[in-house]
Amino acid sequence: MTRKDQNFYLALLVPAIAVLLLFIAAPIVHSFFLSFHRIIIGLPQLKTPFVGLDNYRELLNDPVARHSFWVTIIFVGTTTFFELLIGILLALLIHHRFPGRGALRACVLIPWAIPTVVSAQMWRFLFNDAYGVINYAIFGANISHYIPWLALPPTALLSIVVADIWKTSSFAALLILAGLQVIPEELYQAAKVDGAVVWQRFLHITWPLIRPALLVALLFRTIDAFRVFDLAFVMTQGGPADATNVLQLYGYKKMFVEGWMGYGSAISVCIFIMVMVLAIAYVRMVGRRLLEASV
């Protein structure tokens, strides 16, 4: 490769880099910038003074933010765990050869293809205390036992967890299925010859070989779950008593409802940093695993 060629290749990269800078780097940098200022939309007389780390200091001492953080962590932990578990089962199921597999594979993806706002609205109706199908399915006509799912703090959080698991398990399944499909059939045949039973074949062949795919799914699901907003926004608005007030929703309310731009930006920046750290940790792990797998 001559030097001229190299320059040419670099020049070809310029548009892509420019787009990335404009649409990804610029807003992030701007959020950082806002988070160091005191900006309140309704009080323009305050101007926009630079306040250093004041917003972050306040955030650390904000009990509502701390509560929101734990709500988010519980949400991330439970949804990711169950989505991967159900994802593996779904993937194993649709990996099998049986009549109608194509149709089933397509069906599995439907929840994921529906816009979250629409499915959130649907779950809100399903969880309705008086007319909801879920109460009817569990208690039938015995309405005195009906549970007001979205009105009790623990069940309200459970409801958005269930809605998220329903929606994105199939995405995890899709990623894991990709991992399943690259496992050579010969390995199973050899294992069968050696007399390995089903669970032994899963434990010694399938499990180690889908681990890289599993890690990728884990990475995507954790990061995505951290950024949960629409489910809580549509189903509960963060209530009751802040039980579903996830961090993103809290930041949104600070910024766009209260007009507290600086503080809201500080919340976004914190979420960004947490997700970033997670992403880097995962990517390094995944990178190593992938190397090990290919060796």
Binding site: L43, A130, P240, V257
Partner: protein
Amino acid sequence: MKTLKIMIIAFGIAGLLCIGVQFAWAEKPTTVVFLTWKPNQPEVWDTAIKNFHQKNPDIHIKVQVGPHSSTEYHAIVAQRLKNRDKSVDVFFMDVIWPPEFANAGWALDLTSRFSIKEQDKFLPGPITANTYHGKIYGVPCYLGAGLFYYREDLLKKYNFKPPTLWEEMLTQGQVIMQGENEPGLHIYSGQFKQYEGLVCDMMEFIWSNGGAVIDQKTGKAILDDPTVVDAVSFVRDRIIGKAAPRGAINYEEPESLDLFIQGKAIFHRNWPYAWAVANDPKKSKVAGKIGVGSLPAFPGHSSASTLGGWQFGVNHYSTHPEEAWRFIHFMTSHETQKILALQASLAPTRKSVYQDPEIQEKRAHLKAFLPAFERASPRPLSPVYPMISQELQRFFSQAITERGSDLSGMAAATSVKIEKLFKLGAMIQE
């Protein structure tokens, strides 16, 4: 043939001259830009604006339509006013915005044009909501207020009059519940989700016990006052999960109205729009069986309603404030409010419209709304109201969700936060 051509040209020139002269004589109309939200019945507003054009040929109203949602419309108006955009002259304000718009210097002070004598012709609540530090910044267009709906048929059957006390409502409800023995029937339905509507509903309980969130004069937050704590604990212990289903903790207006129009609630709190829905036989099982009036109160105090509704404001940087004022004045006149009431069912803010014979005949229910409208009070007036509201929503939601919680302690903690916010808003004004 040639003469014909000459004649045509001559006539043409004469005609053009005539038009030209006419243009020179008539003044060019001044354009006033009215930034509105997307209305439910645009044709009614078009009629009103057409009437204005007929009477004021020297002004041309250019309508710009913004988003339907209040929050999104606020974002657009605030954005343009913040940038001192002169291309907007007249805009709408939700009832909780005037202090913010006044404080930010976005809304023009209308005190010199909107005289006290003229203000007296309007209902008092909306006038208070538009007044900030003694000056008025908006003219009320139409209003809403919390109303008390009830099942007239059931009350008659058990020989009850509409309750005036909360306790009375519960007693009547219990008798009716026992008599009807209908599964799924509740005494009361209202809005208790953690959102703006929760503040509206809770304010009505608090006011009707003689309490308040803030002493508007001293700026002192008084949430921990016994009048407030008692009203909140009444809602927590007697309404939620008792008179109203526990699910009401996640109800906004549509869900709570649904319960009422399905015949599953005897009493219901909602805004004026619910009257038409509940009386529509296609949607409602209780059409024609309901009555409406003022919400109950606690002993020794009078009924209270939270004020809602929309006002006209003028851009502080408008280059045509006089023309803008004439437009607003026309849009809030007796005739226009009558059109809006008759054709779009919007509740008038001018007292005289309620006395109009045609209104009394065709919109008879407005008479039942009037006492609540006359009493309707605005939520705390502050340029940082949205922040105050978030704290109130958090407090109220926690208070009514967690039975046996330390109400006074929570109220005191919230009071401190709200007082800080209120002072932040007031300090700027000095």
